[in-house]
């Protein structure tokens, strides 16, 4: 991997570079209060792009897997059917994507493209997507209360799966402020490396790389020391089926069945398919995000529902995300440590809390034994 230096004042020129190359650039912005969001960059909002900010509530997943997407258009006339695939292809870049969300997109890659029956709709969104990762180096702004990427090994600085990574050398633990007004840019792909032809990128030195490591060491220590450090043990317990039933009962009792956790998750993949009548007796087939939290998720025609109880459904979600079988199946984990489920959940059964409940119940049980 090649690395270059970039002055703080030139960071947003990366956005300009990408726009000149024909990318629609999506970047993080700050709304009123603490709200942050991803939005397309225009000439008007370009200067308001945020480098350090709390990770937006809605992950950038929707740019590769839209909440509602048209799959087919079917024209019906005189009893005949004409079925067309409707693809959307766009040359897009996401600037400022956090490391956890880079891992989220990688998980979607593995899930939709890595096995039999690759998904062409996903591929069309993905194939021209350029990812500019900004490493989380500001403990105040970048790292939230709920972040646990340390446990999922997805952050605070992604190791791969980005095209370009920008690392603020003015982060905490920086040895001197003298060199502190630079960013270290790392290319993750040959395409990312082509940006280095632009004169805004300067040669760096081994000291800059050493500084990066020093900053990362400091950032790692600034995460809230939480029970999520039990994450890998929870994976083991879930995979071996060692979770006591009462854990899922408790999780089920606290679930309000709103589906929020799945809608903010950068690694959730489920969808439903529905037909909609369009103009001129045509039909559009759509896919829409679906959620395993909702009771109708497994209900079959005729009403039989093999997964009736709430705790069955909650068990399902955490099993799907944590069981070693699925991690091996996709070669990536369906939880990337972003903490959004914890932030959105009214019943406090986001991933970190559930890991804590697993810890409590499993250790209580082993103490009894």
């Amino acid at each position: 991997m090649k690395a270059r230096l970039l002055s703080r004042g030139d960071v947003l020129k990366v956005v300009d570079l990408l726009r000149r190359r024909g990318y629609e650039v999506i970047a993080p912005f700050r709304g009123r209060g603490r709200d942050t969001f991803f939005d397309p960059v225009t000439d008007q909002n370009r200067d308001r792009i945020q480098i350090h900010l709390p990770n937006p509530y809605y992950p950038p997943k929707r740019f590769v897997f839209p909440p509602i997407e048209r799959l087919l258009k079917v024209e019906r006339s005189n009893g005949d059917l004409r079925i067309q695939s409707t693809y959307e292809e766009r040359k897009r870049a996401i600037f400022g994507i956090r490391s956890c969300d880079v891992a989220g997109i990688y998980h979607l890659d593995r899930f939709y493209l890595g096995r039999d029956f690759p998904d062409i709709y996903y591929q069309n969104h993905r194939k021209n997507l350029f990812l500019v990762n900004v490493a989380c180096t500001d403990p105040e702004l970048d790292i939230g209360e709920e972040c646990f990427c340390m446990c999922t090994d997805t952050g605070p600085a992604a190791r791969d799966h980005f095209d370009l990574q920008l690392f603020d050398l003015h982060g905490m633990g920086a040895q001197s402020v003298k060199d502190g007004d630079d960013f270290l840019a790392v290319a993750g792909t040959p395409l990312g490396e082509t940006l280095f032809a632009d004169p805004i990128f300067r040669k760096g030195s081994p000291e800059h790389v050493a500084q990066r490591s020093a900053i990362l060491d400091g950032v790692r220590k600034s995460f809230r020391p939480g029970t999520t450090s039990w994450f890998s043990a929870a994976i083991q317990a879930v995979s071996r089926g060692e979770i006591p039933e009462e854990t899922w009962d408790e999780v089920g009792n606290r679930c309000l069945e709103c589906g929020g956790c799945t809608y903010v998750c950068p690694a959730c993949t489920c969808f439903t398919v529905t037909d909609r009548l369009a103009e001129g007796n045509a039909v559009e087939r759509l896919r829409i995000w679906d959620s395993c939290a909702l009771s109708g998720f497994t209900r079959m025609a005729g009403g039989f529902n093999p997964r009736r109880a709430v705790h069955d459904r909650r068990n399902r979600r955490f099993f799907r995300k944590l069981a070693h079988y699925f991690i091996e199946r996709e070669l990536s984990m369906a939880c990337v440590g972003c903490g959004r489920c914890a932030a959105v959940c009214h019943g406090d059964i986001g991933m970190p809390s559930v890991v804590e409940m697993i810890r409590r119940h499993v250790t209580a049980r082993s103490n009894e034994a």
């Binding site: 087919l72 079925i83 062409i120 998720f297």
Partner: protein
């Protein structure tokens, strides 16, 4: 259910291979409709496109297809024909909005089909074995394919036994086929109904009662039992089979689940460690127990 080989590796910035659209169904034409039992009909159809028809005909017994009724939706249904047969058809009970829409179609009407999907019964692995088919009610629909296939490849299989039970004589599935099987030499076919009706001279009782009938000897050694039927029937038949000495891995069934894609993406049919659509729908009883959900 092993993690299958990773064929398509996506890397950022590198376009993956161009692939076909797995969600795109092909237009099918309804040829004729045959009444089976109350609310159950068989729909004979063919693809408009000849190539699609011959590609589809390579399906295996136990696989399924996704049927599109545009404007209503898409539903999964098992494939009752054997690939050794000429015709392609579905046998479908009217139970939800999509199946109702299918039931309203007339010969000549068009709909769409994609598939075949799923693993199917490993009929090659069963060569040289005794085959025991046990079907309750419309559970005979998915088993029909394997039965016809086994009979068409008779020399590869040892004894073939068929046990079919229905609530009443009027609810026996594929009656003409059943009567044929009863008369076919080398096939041990037994039929029973829960409640007899006037004119019924056959057996009365649940399907499991046939196993204890005088003169019936269920093959247990070197045998595979195919079991399909309603949940209650399934539970009792499994008990009977295990008591007779069947190993859990030698009992197979096909599961049905709510499905939207059929290709392992939408997530609805995922139970335990399996996506029913790609890892199933055929599972051994040993696997079904591990999946840990109601049948």
């Amino acid at each position: 259910m092993n993690p299958s080989s990773i064929e398509h590796v996506a890397m950022p910035g590198i376009a993956p291979k161009i692939v076909e659209n797995v969600y795109l169904p092909k237009v099918a034409v309804l040829d004729r409709v045959v009444d089976e039992i109350d609310e159950v009909k068989t729909f004979y159809w063919h693809f408009e496109d000849n190539e699609a028809q011959s590609a589809f005909k390579r399906f295996r017994p136990g696989q399924f297809a996704q049927v599109s009724l545009f404007g209503v939706g898409e539903f999964p249904t098992s494939l009752p024909p054997s690939p050794t047969e000429e015709n392609t058809f579905f046998t479908v009970r009217q139970v939800g909005s999509c199946t109702q829409a299918l039931h309203k179609l007339k010969p000549g009407d068009k709909f769409a089909v994609r598939g075949p999907y799923g693993n199917g019964f490993p009929m090659e692995d069963y060569r040289g074995k005794n085959l025991v088919f046990i079907a309750g009610g419309i559970g005979l629909i998915p088993l029909r394919s394997a039965i016809v296939y086994a009979l068409a490849n008779r020399e590869h299989y040892e004894r073939i036994q068929i046990f079919h039970g229905a609530k009443t004589p009027k609810e026996l599935m594929y009656v003409s086929k059943l009567l044929n099987w009863e008369r076919t030499p080398g096939v041990d076919c037994h039929i029973t109904v829960d409640r007899a009706a006037e004119g019924w001279t056959g057996d009365v009782g649940v399907v499991g009662s046939l196993f204890k009938k005088p003169g019936v000897k269920v093959a247990v050694e070197n045998a595979v039992a195919f079991v399909c039927g309603p949940p209650v029937m399934f539970r009792f038949v499994i008990q009977d089979l295990l008591a007779m000495g069947f190993k859990e891995r030698n009992i197979v069934s096909t599961l049905e689940r709510y499905m939207k894609c059929g290709v392992g993406k939408c997530g609805h049919c995922c139970i335990g460690v399996a996506y029913v659509c790609v890892d199933g729908p055929v599972f051994t009883y040993e696997q079904i127990k591990q999946l840990g959900e109601d049948i």
